[in-house]
Amino acid sequence: MYMINCPWCGTRDQAEFVAHGEAHIARPEQPDALTDEAWGDYIFFRDNPKGLHFERWVHTHGCRRWFNVARNTANYEIYASYKPDEAKPEVPQT
């Protein structure tokens, strides 16, 4: 069970949050302009790194805000959480 820092509410138990996969994927402006391949990549293909991962969480049982977390999937480190409109933070190289 992680302790997760909601950028708004502060640090809370993981029980209050739900994870939602890779962050920083913008929905294409013009889906119709994409090939099947490009569209399929957008909806289904994901980074699934062993190590540093930027992913989305939502504070479901708190402020209900979505935010991003930089986490290491190979251990239990959480480097940072940040708001959706913020850029990826600098994190230690692993």
């Binding site: 069970m1 980074d47 699934n48």
Partner: protein, 415 residues
């Protein structure tokens, strides 16, 4: 040829205090080049090698395992075996697998303890009932055994079940040929049999990269040096995305922690496998006596082989809700695996953007049962350079064309 295993060889060896048994598999040094390299020494990888040697006549094969063979999900799953899947494509490959299970101990000369003691899916809602009806009917028409049970029939089989739990039991579906098999024995049996036919099983050999030339794979880089190959099959389950990244592409897969646990060993009390999607509890009892219980996965990806205690709480909560008598039982050990989950909950058996490089992954939370079938069709696919008909529907292309085999959807949508 190795010692053949039987009651006679056991008795004979007993006389010499078992001093004469041979290695179950060798510890070969990697050769410079193989016809086929299989990456991943789990059940699927080992089975692939075995069938390559046995059915395709290709014995210049290496299985490269980064750690100890069978230590991935093969060594940490709840060992449930069944073939009663909904879609024709799934039913075909899982039933192919089931047929192989039925003769596997004899085929491998290794007792994998495949135990068709019956598997019951319990339905807790109108929606569950519709789901099992549809699936059971489909199984029947596909020639797969299916039997519907009333709550009373379930109670007769599982006397201590609480039919009147939070989601009252409305019925169930039984696959009599479903059951369990001994996970470790599956890995060891395939390894032994493959090794006997000349396959090199190389443990502690981690693949760290691919050698690709002109879009064709020509070998792999490993912690024990470069090894050349004509063809490479990647069967690394939870780590498939890591390997794909090495080869320069992505997969429609995410790796989640999935946990399981065992109770202390007790005398026989659960004589079949009982699965409940409604309250989310899966339980069976091993031959050693532990209750083997499967949990659900966490919502975040992880490669740590552990998961959150909250998931354990939910799982045991469901077990106690459904079997109140187990409240005084104790959890002996909990652990986790890394499951490679696709969007449609169906596997990927596929060619890739790199020529001669095929992937077999995405089995997620349910691929143990597929071990023989998956290995078998993947071996044929590698040998031929074309996907076996049972494998063809599971190509990566489906995520672009939309031809999903959506085993997850039926249960996952709104009421």
């Amino acid at each position: 040829m190795k010692n053949k295993y039987s009651i006679f060889s056991l008795a004979r060896n007993a006389l010499s205090y078992h001093q004469k048994w041979q290695h179950t598999w060798r510890n070969p040094e990697p050769k410079k080049h193989y016809d086929v390299i299989i990456i991943g020494g789990g059940g699927h990888g080992l089975a692939t090698a075995y069938y390559l040697a046995k059915e395709c006549g290709i014995t210049n094969v290496a299985v490269l395992e980064k750690s100890w063979l069978g230590g991935g999900n093969t060594g940490r799953n709840t060992t449930i075996v069944r073939s009663n899947y909904l879609w024709d494509e799934s039913a075909a490959i899982y039933e192919h697998s089931m047929k192989l299970w039925e003769g596997l101990s004899q085929d491998l000369n290794y007792n994998v303890m495949y135990s068709p003691r019956g598997l019951i899916h319990v339905a807790h809602s109108v929606h569950d009932m519709q789901e099992i009806q549809r699936r059971g009917n489909a199984n029947f028409l596909n020639g797969i055994d299916a039997e519907f049970l009333t709550p009373e029939q379930i109670q007769a089989r599982v006397p201590f079940i609480n039919l009147d739990c939070r989601y009252p039991v409305m019925g169930g579906i039984l696959q009599k040929r479903g059951g369990t098999a001994r996970h470790d024995a599956v890995a060891w049996g395939y390894a032994r049999a493959a090794d006997a036919m000349g396959v090199d099983i190389i443990q502690n050999c981690e693949v760290t990269g691919f050698n690709i030339s002109d879009g064709k794979v020509i070998g792999v880089q490993t912690s024990r040096g470069n090894i050349g190959a004509n063809k490479v099959g990647v069967v690394t389950a939870g780590h498939c995305s890591v390997l794909a990244e090495m080869a320069g592409f992505r997969l429609p897969v995410e790796s989640f922690p999935l946990q399981a646990m065992v109770s202390e060993p007790v005398k026989p009390i659960v004589d079949c496998v009982i699965m409940s999607n409604g309250v989310h509890a899966y339980i069976s009892q091993s031959d050693k006596g532990e209750l083997v219980i499967g949990a659900s996965s966490d919502t975040y990806t992880s490669y740590t082989q552990t998961g959150g205690f909250n998931v354990i709480e939910e799982t045991i909560g469901a077990i106690v809700e459904l079997y109140p008598a187990f409240s005084r039982m104790k959890m002996l050990r909990q652990w986790g695996g890394i499951v490679d989950v696709t969007v449609d909950r169906s596997p990927i058996l596929s060619k890739t953007p790199v020529e001669n490089l095929m992937f077999n992954c995405g089995w997620g939370t349910g691929g143990f049962k597929a071990t023989p079938g998956s290995g078998n069709v993947f071996a044929h696919s590698l040998a031929k350079g074309e996907m076996h008909p049972y494998a063809a529907p599971f190509s990566i292309d489906r995520f672009h064309s939309g031809a999903l085999v959506d085993e997850g959807a039926a249960a996952a949508v709104a009421h």
